[in-house]
Amino acid sequence: MSRALKEKIIKNVLFLFALVSIIVLALIIIFLFMEGVPIFGVVSLKGFLFGTEWYPTYDPPEFGIWPLIVGSIVVTFFSALIAVPLGVLSAIYIAELAPPLVKEIFKPVIELLAGLPSVVLGFFGMAILAPWLQQTFDLPTGLNILNASLILALMAIPTISSIAEDALYSVPQEFKEASYALGATPFETVTKVVVPAALSGISTAVILGMARAIGETMVVLMVAGGAAAIPESIFDSVRPMPASIAAEMGEAPFRSDHYHALFATGIVLFFMTLGFNLFADYISHKFKEVGSATL
């Protein structure tokens, strides 16, 4: 067999594999829409998104997922409040300030955290965090927004930290040298030169970490409490979208309205994570093109 032919075959085989993954993904999305869209024959798009009653098994049923959307947003927001500072600051410490020995220990440990199965984290939230919260704050249940936010933050930290760290590493050494040569301290160099230069990468890290938190199912299913109502405090239970889908799919009769409503919830979730990812992509490209923007 000639070398050129061999090359051609290899190229085409790889193309085929790439094509298969894309087609499978496309089919899943088509399926998601096919199974989700019929619900809009029963309830209007506005009524579905902003309706505050989620009683899919009542007679007549109510398909308003606003409490689920609020649940997802609230839990993601509070986990961001915890995970963003911890993730970004630990990345800054590891990338710029830590002595080599500390770096060698911290970096793999944080990455190991990313490898923890979410069900294990959820178990921890259920068995240890929930009783503790219940006792400490004298609550009816420890399965609530605070618990879910804490556990989700634990999951998002490694993502944020390792992507932000890569961004900090890729800041050219020349910038740091220039800063030191002007009489800056290491801390001033990090805050005024390195972090601004890595800002687009750090933003990407934050957004991807949050995208991970909003789509995460197991943790919120286990520790968010499952109440499909709009929460009034961070000690209330919520039912984020992924938890609702996972909990109810097994009981919803095939191709019933409830079944379609759950798929439609999946579509909403899909658009939210897609939005996060597109935004992350936009931010990371925006600054690159001008060779870093004016800060």
């Binding site: 080599p100 050219p172 020349e174 910038f175 740091k176 040298e177 220039a178 800063s179 030191y180 040569a181 002007l182 009489g183 800056a184 301290t185 001033e188 005024k192 030169v193 601004p196 230069a197 001008v290 060779g291 870093s292 923007a293 004016t294 800060l295």
Partner: protein
């Protein structure tokens, strides 16, 4: 050869190690105030190491060690009570590759002064203008001060880096092969600038380009394998060197 009063900075019996590798061997050299001193020699001879030693930039590299003294205005900058940050504010540096910050032209220049406590807007504006005029860049950028420094040409970026160093009002300006990444026209501009700057500053320049050393400097030191082989007035070193090795190098027999 240099009068004691005119010495601004001197290295005394300096040895320098990268790990176990000895990069400088017993170097003693005096630098005269308001003159241009060139350091030449083949790659790896220690000339850049010596330059970076003079404002403690080598501190930033792990596993390095210094022996001997560097006396700046009567005090050893390697004494234990000296903060390298203070040294670097008095002894500025320009690097081989232009390295402006990804900030506006204005903010590039005010970066150092702001850190050292200047905060009044009018002071900063005056400083920016003065520094850019000194670096002969003012006319080219005075209308685009708020734009990113990254959009300037390589030669303009390097002059911006010089302006940025001058904004700290340093006593000594170290230049590490400042024109090696630039085209001949930009190089000529920087050389003119060096000529102009030596009225007010002491300049120490590392260069690979012997013609450049001959053109811009008053004194030249020739380094080889970590040793200072010959240190002399530039016209003398390039015409009638005292040491055979120097002659071999400048006539192109090695290096």
């Amino acid at each position: 050869m240099i009068r004691l009063d005119d010495i601004i900075i001197q290295a005394k019996n300096v040895n320098f190690y990268y790990g176990s590798f000895k990069a400088l061997i017993d170097v003693t050299i005096d630098f005269e105030k308001n003159k241009v001193t060139a350091l030449i020699g083949p790659s790896g001879c220690g000339k850049s190491t010596l330059l970076r030693l003079l404002n403690r930039m080598n501190d930033l590299i792990d596993g390095t060690r210094v022996e001997g003294e560097v006396i700046f205005e009567g005090a050893n900058i390697y004494a234990s009570n000296v903060d390298p940050v203070d040294v670097r504010r008095r002894i500025g540096m320009v690097f081989q590759k232009p390295n402006p910050f990804p900030k506006s032209i204005f903010n590039n220049i005010t970066y150092g002064p702001k850190l050292s406590g200047i905060s009044r807007k009018t002071d900063l504006e005056a400083l920016v203008e003065r520094s850019l005029i000194q670096a002969s860049l003012w006319n080219e950028v005075k209308d685009i001060l708020s734009q990113s420094a990254m959009m300037l040409s390589g030669g303009q970026q390097q002059r911006l880096c010089i302006a940025r160093a001058l904004a700290m009002k340093p006593d000594v300006l170290l230049m590490d092969e400042p024109t090696s990444a630039l085209d001949p026209i930009s190089t000529a501009k920087i050389e003119e600038l060096i000529e102009e700057l030596k009225k007010n500053y002491t300049i120490i320049i590392v260069t690979h380009n012997m013609q450049q050393a001959a053109r811009v400097s008053d004194y030249t030191g020739f380094f080889y394998l970590g040793k200072l082989i010959e240190y002399n007035q530039t016209d003398r070193l390039f015409t009638t060197p005292d040491v055979k090795q120097t002659e071999d190098y400048i006539t192109g027999r090695f290096g």
